[in-house]
């Protein structure tokens, strides 16, 4: 099968998780024996998007000529021309914000799958569905009125700025604030054969629109992650929170409350966060590990006894938990988004209600006290990652059915 991938935010070397995900998917599908090609959008004036080192990619890729235009119709037309010139059997559209419906509509003469990585379909404000410290219950696709007003309310200052950032610029260029954009989005979604999402909350947003919704997790490359390290019992149990602690959605403040509660009763633990400095209000048990590149992060996991992912937003996937499990660590995670699928409560870690520092402290207390439980959960976690989240497994398990559906749609077409 000839399969074209279209991505509107791709760059390589990667700048985000979506690129890494797409890279592994394209490579994996190519390894299955399919002919693949990636088409990306050029970006005018951007240092971090639309630039690819084609020599570093193990599959063919090209930037669609003229696609750096700010006019959405032109971008869609240029992407269509580039894809048409290669004549694929089906198309998978990867990451993109407001341009995605335009491009999807332009490519709807092919069997089409749309991949959503975060809440970019449901939340035009910032594709996170996280507002004022809590997950937002709204969904643009089901009720655009509130989301349109919310976007205007929260992003109004940026809209009025002399030069808005790329996200808001795209919002303005595509006129995503207008009713016509909503209709265009719904039409484009309706023409797709498959919508690929990462978790059940995302799946719910697309229910009733028409295409089949398929949940596909992300993955990890196990060859990058050293096997779990055995170390003798230490004076203090080390717990790592990897990720951007400065983002309130990641729940570092909840972890700090939990550490404060634990610190009142014991001093046999320490918590490490991947930040240049510990938060100013943190108790002395919280240490900064500095920003780490992936290799540095995996080396850090080797020195830890457990990991914690206290996110309070509905994490689309939860790569931090998968990486920690791959490193053989038990994971205490919030029962949110993709995390609740990754961590098996009581088996590979402990799930706690989000934003509940007392429950988080209880879970950490159990892990700090019980070394046997840590080892058992860590080993189970590594096993689960090998079975479910190693890229080869993800590709073989989840993508052939999607490709079959796209191939079936191709054959059924007049």
């Amino acid at each position: 099968m000839r399969l074209a991938f279209v991505d509107l935010q791709f760059s390589w070397p990667p700048k985000g998780g979506a690129e890494i995900d797409l890279f592994h998917v394209i490579k994996g599908i190519q390894d299955l024996g399919h002919e693949v090609k990636l088409f990306i959008r050029g970006h005018q004036g951007s240092w971090e998007r639309g630039k690819i080192d084609t020599a570093a990619l193990p599959f063919p890729a090209e930037t669609a000529p003229g696609s750096e235009s700010r006019r959405p119709e032109t971008v869609a037309e240029r992407m269509r021309q580039a894809v048409d010139s290669w004549a694929p059997d089906a198309v998978i559209v990867g990451f993109g914000f407001f341009l995605k419906p335009y491009v999807a509509a332009a490519l709807s003469h092919y069997p089409l799958a749309l991949r959503y990585y975060a809440y970019e379909g449901a939340c035009p404000r910032d594709f996170r569905l996280f507002k004022e410290g809590a997950p937002c219950p709204e969904n643009y696709l089901a009720g655009p009125g509130i989301c349109r007003r919310c976007t205007l309310h929260y992003r109004g200052r940026e809209i009025a700025r002399a030069r808005p950032g790329p996200y808001i610029q795209e919002y303005l260029d595509t006129k995503a604030y207008a009713p016509a954009y909503y209709r265009r989005t719904m039409e484009a979604l309706g023409k797709a054969r498959v919508i690929i999402v990462s978790n059940p909350i995302m799946a719910r947003h697309f229910e009733g629109i028409g295409p089949e919704i398929i949940e596909v997790p992300g993955g990890v490359d196990l060859s990058d992650i050293p096997p779990p390290a055995e170390h003798p019992p230490r004076e203090r149990v080390s717990i790592l929170m990897a990720g951007r602690g400065d983002d309130p959605a990641k729940g570092l403040h909840i972890l700090i409350d939990a550490v404060r509660e634990l610190a009142a009763e014991r001093d046999d633990f320490e918590v490490w966060v991947t930040q240049p400095e510990p938060p100013p209000d943190a108790p002395p048990q919280v240490h900064a590990a500095g920003w780490r590149d992936p290799a540095g992060l995996f080396a850090l996991y080797q020195q830890m006894d457990a990991a914690v992912v206290p996110s309070i937003w509905e994490e689309p996937f939860g790569l931090a938990a998968v990486e920690a499990m791959a490193a053989g660590l038990p994971v205490v995670a919030s029962r949110v988004g993709g995390l609740q699928r990754i961590v098996v409560d009581g088996e590979t870690g402990v799930l706690v209600p989000p934003a509940d520092s007392r429950a988080l402290a209880d879970a950490l207390r159990r892990l700090i006290t019980d070394r046997g439980m840590r080892r058992r959960m860590g080993a189970a976690g590594r096993g689960r990652v090998e079975q479910e989240y190693a890229w080869e497994r993800v590709i073989v398990k989840h993508y052939p059915p999607i490709l079959e559906k796209l191939a079936g749609a191709r054959e059924a077409a007049p």
Partner: protein, 171 residues
Amino acid sequence: MSGALRICAFRSQGWGYATRLHHLRRRYPDARLVVMIPKGETVSEQEAAYADEVLEQPHETYSIRKPGKLWDLARTLREARLDLFVVMYPSPRLRLVAGLSGARRAECWSYQNLIIALPTRLLPAMAVLGWRIVQGQLRFWRCWLTTRLRRVPMPGEVDKMEARGLRMPRR
């Protein structure tokens, strides 16, 4: 003080500051590179490797609406006695800051990622900035009016209205 060229690289919001420092160091290998960071921020290890001197900006952000902050920044920059002032983008606001810096010349990275000279005359910079602010306000009010006045009729709502013989809201 040595006779080396004093270059100030002004860090503002956006990606790629360290990469820009790398290019700057390659372009001016013998210059004294002053890295100027917003108040309260820190220099990363990568950035520190290129810096001969780190200077903290007096405030976190600057706007033409807050001339006091701009004045503080201008004073700090003029005290640093710069030969070349380098900003990350050719934006009107950074052009104004470059004009206030007192440096003999200014450079920036164009949106095509080329190093270009930046005009530092104050009046044209202020005029461009003023026009951009007006454009931004017009853009905001256009969005506001569209969002507030033009509703998206939901499928159920459309059915009900058609059943009652009412006209659809304007699309």
